[in-house]
Amino acid sequence: MSELRWEAWAAIVAFILTLGYTLNPLPYLMGAFTFIAQPLFAVAMLGYAQKVFRDLKRRKVI
């Protein structure tokens, strides 16, 4: 599997926003969690899934 650099950074940013919202549930932090952090997590997961799929294909597992 190649590196997961941008996926990890996307998840880190999403975790920071989620942490901010968890500690202080103000409207703008709630908006950041809902409309930025959750899609970032989804994008990171999709990127990860794509790399795993490619890796499995390269190794002829699937």
Binding site: M1, A11, I12, A14, T22
Partner: protein, 226 residues
Amino acid sequence: MDTATLVRVLGTVICLVGIVLCWHIGRTRFDGLSSEKLLSVANAHLSQSSFWKLSAFAGIVLVPLAAVGIANYHTFEGVQEVAACARCHVMRPMINDLRNPESNTLAARHYKNHWIVQNQCYDCHSDYGLAGNMEAKMEGFRHLARYTTRTYSEPIELRGRFNNDNCLKCHQDMPKFEVVKSHQSMKALLADSSTSCLNCHGQAHPTRAERTPGSADYAKLMEVVK
């Protein structure tokens, strides 16, 4: 420890674990990992390559799912509190009026007389049942989007018509309600919300004119009730 604190602590721990894990994942070169070098984790022995691949799965899939789950639980439970509505300044005229013991709006009377013990905003503005609650939550997301992007104008207005079921879920079938003749004669109209309860029982919140920024009452309504 109450549930809210527990959720907050758990959410914090999960996010911190996720940040540390992702930091290491982002710096790992997966192609250069050895599948022969063994690492010991508790009683398990894993190759270096397997260990980091499992860590990547945990850091990018499992821990984010846990964080999203906890934070959404925090949202769905937290938004029911009056304090959650009070955090948006557009709601302050309504909240300050609700908490004002001298006010006689319908909302204030329900609050000061403890007719609704807690979560007063949510109780009157979420329709009865699971579908209704989900609808209220979806409306909440719309409000959040409008508020955070500042695409709203004051005074805010209730979209559509107030659903009488939100009143009837507590009042219907109660002796004090049933004994009133007009409630009997208007039962069908009240049930389908063609006639509003507010027509006879007064204003629920300060009027639109009172809530308009710049009006004489607006500044007073924005003052926090001590």
